[in-house]
């Protein structure tokens, strides 16, 4: 019998590492992982980031689906960035508050944790798996680029924690 026995990366129940196996056992694990994820996504608490992301992105699709949606020449929402944003939302740890989600003027999706003028961290999820981030924590600031993989990069997690504990 094959069962799912999986690490839980970054405390998120919704993101399983990529299953590259091709055997019957691997296929069974993949199916069970998908069933588990679907079950967790129905949960009010565990699936909150994913559900909020889907809700926000559905709304964004309605509002930002054509060029110049902001009257300042913005590009229409980037569909690949949206898909990656959904994956990103599944990786967020449960204890992290639900971020606000914006569409940038270049059509990319941004997640932002804003507590005040000097307590802010945001991450833009690009279609090419880049995570473009910036944070302001009191007098300190940071910015850079990380790669989106099977788990959230430590840099992103650390900065989310940092803004929440400032």
């Amino acid at each position: 019998m094959t069962i799912v026995c999986d690490a839980l990366p970054n405390s998120s129940f919704l993101k399983f590492p990529s299953n590259l196996g091709v055997s019957n056992g691997a296929e069974a694990i993949k199916r069970q992982a998908e069933e588990l994820r679907n079950m967790f996504e129905q949960s009010i608490t565990i699936g909150k980031h994913y559900k909020e992301a889907r809700r926000s992105l559905t709304k964004a699709f309605e509002e930002c689906s054509v060029d110049n949606w902001d009257s300042y020449g913005a590009k229409a929402i980037d569909e690949l960035s949206c898909v990656k944003a959904i994956s990103f939302s599944r990786m967020l740890p449960m204890h992290v508050p639900v971020p606000e989600i914006y569409i940038d003027s270049d059509g990319e999706v941004t997640f932002e944790w804003y507590l005040g003028p000097r307590e802010v961290f945001s991450v833009t999820v690009r279609g090419n798996d880049e995570l473009v981030y910036a944070g302001l924590f009191g007098a300190n600031k940071t910015h850079g680029v990380e790669h989106l993989d099977d788990e959230l990069p430590e840099t992103i997690l650390d900065n989310i924690s940092r803004v929440l504990t400032e």
Binding site: G73, A74, E112, V120, A134, L136, K141
Partner: protein
């Protein structure tokens, strides 16, 4: 009041807020989204020295809101000193078209740098909501 051609570091600039996600009511603050540059990297502001707050709203309604293709609401302004812009190696280009209009230019190519700048600009701006 006639404004000089050069923008003085002490001048106040108004960035009109046309969306509720441009500001944060619990902390009465301006959010970085308000300073996100558009695709052409020319962020629109108005020079507001010598104006009453009623003048500021009138300009915002006539020159900004009424000229937008989609219906928008004027929620308020982010009031920021030109020096705060210049401190971040950006430039205020006073094109005066329409009258008192200027653009914040000189944004870096790198998006993470631009995001960081919008956070710093927002932190130094004062929120004035339209009542």
């Amino acid at each position: 009041m006639e404004l000089p051609n050069e923008v003085n570091a002490n001048e106040s600039l108004a960035r009109y807020l046309t969306h509720s996600n441009h500001y944060h009511v619990p902390t009465s603050s301006v959010k970085p989204k308000a300073f996100e540059p558009p695709a052409d990297l020319r962020l629109s502001v108005f020079r507001i020295d010598g104006l009453t707050i009623e003048d500021v709203w009138r300009i915002g309604q006539l020159k900004m809101i009424n000229s937008m293709p989609q219906p928008r609401t004027l929620h308020g302004v982010a009031d920021i000193k030109a020096s705060a812009v210049q401190d971040l190696n950006l430039t205020v280009d006073p094109d005066n078209n329409p009258l008192r209009h200027a653009s914040i230019v000189g944004w870096p190519e790198d998006k993470s740098e631009r995001k960081s700048i919008t956070q710093q600009l927002a932190a130094r701006a004062k929120l004035i909501l339209r009542s």
